[in-house]
C-alpha cells in the first residue's frame, strides 16, 4: 500500500474557531479503492476536517494534497470541480426533480431546439441517469419520477450516482446511514462497496460502529481535534475503538 500514491493526504492540519482548537495537527491518507472511516465523539473534529478538505472553510496550518498536489479550496464548488464530491446527511437533492435532473443540477446538458433555441437535453439526462443507476445496480423503470417518490436508500443512491457520474476521485460521506432503516442501511453499504470497486477514495463518517466495521478498510480515530489512533477493522475490537474515542 505504501508504494501507491494516496488520492488524498492530510498532513498536520490545524484549525481554530476563536479560542477553540478544532483541529490540532491532524494527519491521514486515503488510497484509491479504500474506505477510510473517521470515528470520534461529537466535537472531535470529524466534520471540521471534511469541511477543510471540501472547501467549506479554510484551514490554517499544515497541508492537504490531492493526487500529490497541495489544495486549499475557497468554495465547495471548486472542490467539486477538482473531483471531491461531498454527500451530505440531508442529501441536497431537489425532491421535485428526476434522477437525471438531480445528477445534472447546475450543469445541465443543452441541445438546440429547431437548430437555434438552446434547450435542456432531457433525453441525455435520462440516459445518463439510467446508465449511472445501472452501475449502482439500481434498475429504474420511470426516469421522469421525482426523487421524492423514492425511499431514503434509493435517494442516497441518487446522491452517490451524482458523484459517480461526475467522476469524483474522492467521495466524502457524512453520516450516510443515519436517517435510514436497517434494510436501507444495508443498501447504502452495498453502494459504498460499488464506489470502492470503481477505485474511488471514500471518507466515511458514522456514529454506527457496526457500519464502520463492515465497510471501512481503515479507521482513523479523532479525539478533541487530534489523531487518537488508526486501526484496521480485522485487528481491533469495537471496545478498543470506543476507548480511543473517549481517551480511557
Amino acid at each position: 500500500m505504501s508504494e501507491r500514491q494516496p488520492i488524498l493526504s492530510v498532513r498536520n492540519v490545524s484549525k481554530h474557531f476563536g479560542g477553540v482548537q478544532a483541529l490540532d495537527k491532524v494527519s491521514f491518507d486515503v488510497f484509491p479503492g479504500e474506505v477510510v472511516a473517521l470515528a470520534g465523539d461529537n466535537g472531535a473534529g470529524k466534520s471540521t476536517v471534511i469541511k477543510a478538505i471540501s472547501g467549506v472553510y479554510p484551514y490554517e496550518d499544515g497541508d492537504i494534497f490531492l493526487d500529490g498536489k497541495r489544495i486549499a479550496f475557497a468554495t465547495p464548488q471548486e472542490a467539486r470541480d477538482n473531483g471531491i464530491e461531498t454527500i451530505y446527511q440531508d442529501l441536497a437533492l431537489a425532491d421535485n426533480l428526476s434522477i437525471g435532473a438531480n445528477i445534472f443540477l447546475g450543469r445541465e446538458p443543452m441541445k438546440r431546439l429547431f437548430g437555434i433555441l438552446p434547450a435542456i437535453d432531457r433525453k441525455r439526462m435520462a440516459e445518463a441517469a439510467k446508465e449511472t443507476m445501472k452501475r449502482l445496480d439500481f434498475h429504474v423503470d420511470r426516469l421522469d419520477a421525482p426523487v421524492a417518490a423514492f425511499s431514503g436508500g434509493q435517494r442516497q443512491a441518487v446522491a452517490i450516482g451524482r458523484a459517480m457520474y461526475w467522476n469524483a476521485r474522492l467521495v466524502i460521506m457524512d453520516e450516510p446511514t443515519a436517517a435510514l432503516g436497517v434494510p436501507e442501511q444495508r443498501k447504502v453499504i452495498a453502494l459504498i462497496q460499488s464506489l470502492k470497486a470503481e477505485g474511488k477514495g471514500i471518507i466515511f463518517i458514522s456514529h454506527n460502529l457496526r457500519d464502520i466495521f463492515e465497510v471501512a478498510d481503515r479507521i482513523v480515530v479523532f479525539r478533541r481535534g487530534e489523531n487518537a489512533g488508526e486501526r484496521t477493522p480485522g485487528t481491533v475490537s469495537a471496545d478498543e475503538i470506543v476507548r480511543l474515542m473517549v481517551g480511557k
Binding site: P76, Q77, R80, Y88, D90, L91, A92, L93, A94, D95, N96, L97, S98, I99, A101, N102, L105, G106, R107, E108, M110, L113, L117, P118, A119, I120, R122, M133, D137, F138, H139, V140, D141, R142, D144, A145, P146, A148, A149, F150, G153, Q154, A157, R186, K187, A190
Partner: protein, 342 residues
C-alpha cells in the same frame, strides 16, 4: 444482496396526469355547466359564440400576464405581492410617456405608443430589482419584501398619475387594446406570444430548471453550484417585467393609465397559479396550468354575468375553485406522489 428496485406504480402515473390536468378539467366542467344553462334558459350556445370567446380571452389576458410572472415566483417558493401596483405604475407611465412623446417630442402616434409601452416596461425594472435584492441579498422574506414594495409601487403609481387616471389620446393604443383582425383580438395574440416565451423559459432553459430546484430546496440548488442570489434576482425581475407588460396592455385596452389598474388582479394572479396546479410551498407548477387557471377565473366571471347571476357569486365561485384545487393538490401529494414537470 438483491438489487434494489426503483419502482413507481404505472397505474398511479395516470392518476398523476389527471391531477396535473385538473385546471383544464375544471375549465371543461365550467364550460359544460354554462353551456347547459345557456341552452336551457336562453336556447342559445355559450361557447359556440365568437363574441363570448373573444370577451373571455380578452378578459383573461391582463390577469394572465401577471400570473405568468407569478408562476416563476411561486415555483421558487416565493410570492410577489407588489405585482398589482407595479402594473398600475407601468400603466400610468405608459400613458404619460406616450402623451409626452406625442406632445413634446413630436413623435407620430405609433412611435409615441411604442415609447410609452417601453417606458412602462422599463420602469418595472426598479421594483423587480429591488424585490430581488431584498429577498436574495438581505434575506427579507418574500411576503414582507414584496408587501413593502406593494406600498411603494402603489404610492409611486398614484404620484405619477397625479392621483388620478391618465387619459391617453393615441389611436394605436386602441388598436393594441381593442382591434380584432380576423376575429382574433390583438391582446390575445400578444398573450399567446407571451405564453410561448414563458413556457419555453420555464420548461426548456436552465433558468427554469433552476427555478424548480430553488423552490424544492435552497440548499440543494446552492450546493449544486447554482448562484441562487442571482437566480432570485432574475425571477423577481421577470415577474416585474410581466407586470409592466400587463400595465401597458391595460393602458391600450382602456385608453388610459390607472394607478389602481392591477389592484384586484393581484389575488387573481395568485389564484390562477394555484388553480393551475402550483404549490405555494414551491417546486411545482407549469405555464399551461397557469393559463388554464386564468381561463377558469375568466369563464367563471364572464359566465356568471352571462347567465345573469348577481356578480357577488363570482367571488364565491372563484374562492371555492381555489379551495378545491388546493385540496386536490394535497391529496395528490399524499396518495400518489408527483411527477417531474417538463
Amino acid at each position: 444482496m438483491a438489487a434494489p428496485q426503483l419502482q413507481v406504480n404505472a397505474g398511479k402515473s395516470i392518476l398523476i396526469r389527471i391531477a396535473e390536468l385538473r385546471a383544464w378539467l375544471f375549465l371543461i366542467l365550467l364550460i359544460v355547466f354554462f353551456e347547459s344553462w345557456a341552452r336551457a334558459a336562453y336556447g342559445m350556445s355559450f361557447i359556440v359564440n365568437l363574441y363570448n370567446i373573444q370577451s373571455i380571452t380578452v378578459f383573461a389576458t391582463v390577469p394572465l400576464m401577471l400570473a405568468l410572472g407569478q408562476t416563476f415566483v411561486i415555483i421558487s417558493a416565493g410570492i410577489d405581492l407588489s405585482l398589482g401596483f407595479v402594473m398600475g405604475l407601468s400603466s400610468v407611465v405608459a400613458a404619460h410617456m406616450a402623451n409626452i412623446a406625442a406632445a413634446q417630442l413630436g413623435l407620430g402616434p405609433f412611435p409615441a405608443m411604442m415609447f410609452g409601452i417601453l417606458a412602462g416596461i422599463v420602469v418595472t425594472f426598479i421594483p423587480g430589482l429591488v424585490n430581488g435584492w431584498l429577498i436574495a441579498y438581505l434575506r427579507v422574506p418574500p411576503f414582507i419584501g414584496t408587501l413593502g414594495m406593494y406600498g411603494v409601487a402603489r404610492g409611486s403609481a398614484y404620484l405619477a398619475g397625479g392621483g388620478m387616471t391618465v387619459a391617453v389620446n393615441n389611436e394605436w393604443y386602441s388598436v393594441i387594446g381593442n382591434s380584432r383582425p380576423f376575429g382574433i383580438p390583438v391582446l390575445v395574440m400578444i398573450a399567446v406570444v407571451a405564453i410561448i416565451i414563458m413556457h419555453y423559459l420555464l420548461s426548456q432553459t436552465r433558468f427554469g430548471q433552476h427555478t424548480y430546484a430553488l423552490g424544492a430546496s435552497k440548499a440543494a440548488a446552492s450546493r449544486a453550484g447554482i448562484n441562487i442570489k442571482m437566480l432570485t434576482m432574475r425571477i423577481y425581475l421577470l415577474s416585474g417585467l410581466t407586470a409592466g407588460l400587463a400595465g401597458a396592455l391595460y393602458t391600450g385596452r382602456f385608453s388610459a393609465g390607472a394607478p389602481q389598474a392591477g389592484e384586484p388582479l393581484l389575488l387573481d394572479s395568485i389564484a390562477a397559479v394555484v388553480i393551475g396546479g402550483a404549490s405555494l410551498f414551491g417546486g411545482s407548477g407549469t405555464i399551461w396550468g397557469t393559463v388554464a387557471g386564468a381561463l377558469v377565473i375568466a369563464v367563471i366571471q364572464y359566465g356568471l354575468v352571462f347567465i345573469d347571476v348577481e356578480p357577488f357569486w363570482q367571488f364565491i365561485a372563484v374562492g371555492t375553485v381555489i379551495i378545491i384545487s388546493v385540496l386536490v393538490d394535497q391529496a395528490q401529494r399524499r396518495f400518489i406522489g408527483g411527477r417531474q414537470v417538463e
